[in-house]
């Protein structure tokens, strides 16, 4: 009876696998332990049924397997048995459903003392908004979204002025305080999910959805997007850091309000020119870049991107890795820029520099590169022009040798590994899709052909 034996083995094996499996829920870090309980309960009930049904089947297979002059029993209906089974099943189902509904009732009723936090999802990263002093969030509108109002807040709405805007994918929360997470999306549906919190919810463009929980463990947790949102869905990461009260307040204090972000003055090219003198040594007076100095072209690169990279270098988010030789050279240079204003000024100056095409130095199969570039185009644009909304810098007409080197760095964990470098980490995940050096050169070669 090979079949019977194997079926028994499968049943036993299944149970054993369940018991011994190292793959199980991540340690819970929220108040939703009841969810785990309902799961465990369900495992018990269904597990018993699974074993019972299959072992009975095995019994039948063994006992009633075909033998000479054996005849099956002819007894079409057995209503009593059917009814008993119906009742048992109904009871079993009720046993599962009732606790489930009770917990769900908790889920849909948000505690009165829960503070609101808005999560804004977009292809393919996260940002957050806190109500600020007045405890209420201002109105938003997709039509208002732009590079300098990424949250699309209504400038005329008084409630919005003190809203705290967190442009980074890292959110901090105070431990043991219930939060109501409001979910808003800028483009397509996403899902804000942190396995350790158990609860999650889609964010649907054109409306605002919610769920609530109370973080119970201090620590840092990865945010995963669990609603297919396009090509980089799998690389859409954020982080929730659960702090004790003191640390939380400290963090909160360092975050700008909407009013403050509006107040920021544009950089001053004239002031920037002076600062740029330092840079020009390597990057050239026209910011045209200089392979000999390993300095990439800066002219015509998106200002917001340059500013972010300068901040990263200053903060050691980039260029800290010992393998990143040239990055390490850049860090001290960036350090000479005193503050945010300095950064803005120098970026403003770079914006005034003329755009001249660097000679191409990387050789590869542009046709093949074009095929590969299909993936990159999603963020960097079909023309490689760069898109602020996806944090993607310009690639077309930039120093190709530099692009190749950076792709290499991303692939080999030289860049994009720092905890705060979310965009870099995302790029690293996508760069991993390029099989080898050849693939890298092909893409870069294709980029060189773009106008």
């Amino acid at each position: 009876m090979a079949l019977a034996v194997i079926l028994v083995l499968l049943v036993v094996g299944t149970v054993l696998f369940h018991v011994l499996s190292p793959w199980w829920f991540t340690p819970i870090a929220s108040n939703w332990s009841m969810m785990d309980d309902t799961v465990k309960l369900t495992f018990w009930v269904t597990g018993i049924v699974f074993v019972a049904v299959n072992l009975f089947m095995v019994y039948a297979i063994v006992k009633y397997r075909h033998r000479k002059e054996q005849k099956a029993l002819y007894k079409p209906e057995d209503n009593r048995l059917e009814w008993i089974l119906t009742v048992v099943t109904t009871v079993g189902v009720a046993l599962l459903l009732t606790p489930g509904l009770f917990v769900w009732a908790k889920f849909v009723t948000v505690p009165a003392d829960a503070t609101e936090v808005e999560v804004l999802g977009q292809q393919w990263n996260w940002s957050y908004r806190l109500p600020g002093k007045d405890g209420t969030l201002g109105a938003s509108d997709a039509a208002l979204i732009s590079a300098d109002n990424p949250f699309g807040l209504d400038p005329k709405d008084a409630r919005g002025q003190d809203d705290v805007l967190i442009a980074s994918p890292e959110l901090h929360l105070p431990v043991n305080k219930p939060v109501k997470i409001l979910l808003r999306s800028r483009d397509v549906s996403h899902q804000f999910a942190v396995p350790q919190f158990r609860v999650k919810m889609d964010m649907v463009p054109g409306m605002v959805t919610y769920f609530w929980f109370t973080p119970t463990k201090v620590g840092a947790y990865n945010v995963l997007c669990e609603q297919l949102c396009g090509l980089a869905h799998f690389a859409m990461r954020g982080r929730v850091v659960v702090d004790d009260e003191a640390a939380y307040q400290a963090w909160l204090a360092s975050q700008p309000t909407f009013a403050q972000t509006r107040a920021e003055v544009a950089g001053d090219p004239a002031a920037g020119a002076a600062l740029y003198a330092v840079c020009s040594a390597c990057h050239g007076a026209q910011g045209q870049g200089n392979p000999a100095m390993n300095a990439p072209k800066l002219a015509h690169q998106a200002g917001w991107y340059l500013a972010r990279q300068l901040r990263n270098f200053k903060a050691g988010v980039r260029g800290a890795d010992s393998k990143d030789v040239y990055g390490q050279q850049m860090s001290p240079m960036a350090a000479t820029l005193a503050d945010e204003t300095a950064i803005r000024n120098v970026v403003a100056y770079i914006a005034t520099l003329p755009d001249e095409r660097p000679a191409s130095s990387v050789h590869g199969d542009a046709a093949h590169g074009q095929a590969l570039y299909g993936t990159c185009a999603a963020c960097h644009g079909t023309a490689g022009q760069g898109i602020w909304a996806t944090n993607a810098p310009r690639l077309a007409g930039m120093s190709d040798w530099y692009l190749a080197r950076q792709l290499g760095n991303f692939q080999h964990g030289v860049r994009g590994t720092h905890l705060q470098d979310f965009a870099g980490a995302q790029m690293a995940q996508l760069a991993a899709a390029l099989r080898d050096e050849r693939a890298v050169n092909d893409v870069v070669a294709y980029l060189a052909t773009l106008p």
């Binding site: 009633y64 590079a147 549906s189 899709a433």
Partner: protein, 581 residues
């Protein structure tokens, strides 16, 4: 009675003359069935290959890196859609439905053979349009088989320009094809049965296919409508499903649409759809079990009522796919309740299958092996469904590999088991030859053990929180062990995938070399085995329609000379009337 005569009214069978009218433009339900089946299996193999490519990426992301993220999402999407719609739906209804309904009901053909023929050709067109997506600029859509807008039609999703249009068009065409066929199946079952064939004497195969067809006729409209509206949103610029969105930093062009509306429409179709592929499997497996256990199906009436109950309930559970979609959270109470209620009739079917084996005279033939494999995997998959149906339990598991494991176990494995069992069972009737037994057993064991090795561990990835529809993970997200588990799953999947060659080889080889089967190799009671010639000729029954005297399950009737009494045998000393008229 004026109208009773209607059913006796024989078809004006156009008798096919040329090879073309016989095998290509054929109006014979059996030929159409085979055309449907071959097309479905062919496209199914494409989906199979796609799944293998996906597995290679998931199992060995950096060793092979055959594909880029956009290819992966296109593979996932086409894999899912092809498997559900173009393989299983078409194979069960267009294939088995076409072949079995007239034969099992004792009809000469479908009631409207010409329309039936059109149905196939339109289906073929749908498949071609779908495949065309692969060759258009941007490739097929990568929006996931659920095609949620805005994502499905906005840049940043592969194939958002041409692919999605192809997909929507193909679906619309498929629905037209299905409607033409479906109207035929339903009307044939209701109006064209032979004398003595009452509904409560019909084999459960027919019941399952019949109910599935009704579900199709009532559920596909929702998909049809949403396909049209999404196509309009994409091409004309209407805003049904599209709110104001800032895609890639560009200013909104749409205003005020509701993405949730699409999700509701999709699942109003989608959930009945999963039963469309399940119910025929339920029906067919019942007949396999009863025939090869030489015992009547246990609790026939209950089985019929269960099919009806499941069919009705399946229209009021759809939003269990949307517990965490941001819909009105209070819906959770309603849908969790209705969803778990479905478990009861389904449970009864499971019990009755097992109870059919109990006190039977079980022959472990290849079809029987697959039938038992079905019970095992379906019970497993169904039970995991209870996790997901119970709203609270679903929240942590939704959108993880637990879901993927659930629906493969219950849809990607168990109905496929039935498909295989059924082909081993009816191949003799279709060709007059048996399939090779050794190859068959080999095929069963590798497939059965293989798929369990694929999908059992997958649940635990889900519990750990590994999300579905991920091209790759980083070690920052999940422990190394996840990677190694994925690798082993891939290996198992590859083995199973290649094992299908046993089957394909068997199909072709036995056509010539299989041992002749005779007209009723399994000594079965149902009408299709009682045809005057095997394979049945055009018109099925020769001069005279059969007359039915008993239900489909008179196996091992006490006092009978044989351990089975065909439905068309009148009661007599050697063949007493069964307990069940």
């Amino acid at each position: 009675m004026a109208y009773v005569a209607l059913a006796d009214r024989d078809h004006a069978l156009h008798d096919p003359q040329t090879f073309v009218t016989k095998y290509i433009w054929s109006q014979d339900h059996k030929v159409i069935a085979i055309q449907y089946a071959v097309t479905a299996i062919a496209i199914g193999l494409v989906a199979l290959v796609l799944s293998m490519i996906m597995r290679l990426q998931l199992g060995f992301p950096h060793t092979f890196s055959l594909i880029a993220p956009n290819d992966y999402y296109q593979a996932v999407t086409m894999h899912g859609m092809i498997m559900v719609i173009y393989l299983l739906t078409a194979l069960f209804l267009g294939g088995f439905g076409n072949y079995l309904i007239p034969l099992m009901c004792g009809a000469r053909d479908m009631v409207f053979p010409y329309m039936n023929m059109l149905s196939f050709w339109v289906y073929l067109l749908a498949v071609l349009v779908l495949v065309a997506g692969f060759f258009l600029p941007g490739g097929p859509t990568g929006a996931g088989w659920t095609l949620y807008p805005p994502q499905a039609i906005s840049n940043g999703t592969p194939g958002a320009s041409w692919g999605i249009i192809c997909m929507l068009l193909s679906l619309a065409i498929f629905i037209v094809a299905f409607t033409m066929g479906g109207l035929n199946y339903v009307t044939t079952v209701l109006q064209a049965r032979c004398r003595g064939m009452t509904l409560m004497r019909m084999p459960l195969s027919v019941w399952g296919i019949f109910m599935a067809t009704i579900l199709g006729l009532l559920a596909f409209p929702a998909l049809f409508v949403s396909a049209i509206m999404m196509a309009l949103d994409a091409t004309v610029g209407t805003s049904f499903f599209m709110p104001a969105v800032v895609s890639m930093g560009k200013a909104p062009v749409h205003h005020g649409g509701s993405p949730l509306l699409f999700q509701h429409l999709f699942w109003f179709f989608g959930h009945p759809e999963v039963y469309i592929v399940a119910l025929p499997a339920f029906g067919i497996v019942s007949d396999l079990l009863s025939t090869h256990a030489r015992r009547h199906i246990f609790g026939y009436r209950m089985m019929v009522w269960a099919i009806l109950a499941i069919g009705c309930l399946s229209f009021v559970v759809w939003a269990h796919h949307m517990y965490v979609s941001g819909m009105n959270p209070y819906f959770g109470f309603f849908f969790a309740t209705t969803t778990l209620i479905i478990a009861v009739p389904t449970a009864l079917k499971v019990y009755n299958w097992v109870l059919t084996l109990w006190r039977g005279d079980i022959h472990l033939t290849v079809p029987m092996l697959f039938a038992i494999g079905f019970i095992f995997t379906f019970t497993h998959g169904g039970l995991t469904g209870l996790f997901l149906g119970n709203v609270t339990v679903d929240v942590p598991l939704s959108a993880t590999y637990f879901v993927v494991a659930h629906f493969h176990m219950v849809m990607g494995v168990s109905p496929i088991m039935v498909v295989f069992g059924a082909i081993y069972h009816w191949y003799p009737k279709m060709t007059g030859r048996m399939l090779n037994d050794t190859l068959g057993r080999l095929h069963f064991w590798v497939t059965f053990l293989g798929v369990y090795a694929v999908y059992l561990p997958m649940h635990y990835l889900g519990i750990l929180g590994v999300p579905r529809r991920y091209f790759a993970y980083t070690t920052a997200d999940f422990p190394e062990s996840v990677q190694s588990l994925n690798a082993s799953i891939t290996v198992a999947a590859l083995i199973v995938g290649t094992a299908q060659l046993f089957f394909l080889v068997n199909l072709v080889w036995s056509l010539r070399n299989g041992k002749p089967s005779g007209s009723n190799p399994w000594r079965a009671t149902t009408l299709e085995w009682q045809t005057p010639d095997t394979p049945p000729k055009h018109g099925n029954w020769g001069a005279k329609l059969p007359v039915v005297y008993r239900w489909a399950y008179d196996y091992s009737v006490p006092g009978a000379s044989e351990d089975f009494i065909p439905q068309n045998v009148p009661p007599s000393a050697s063949a007493p009337a069964g307990a069940h008229a």
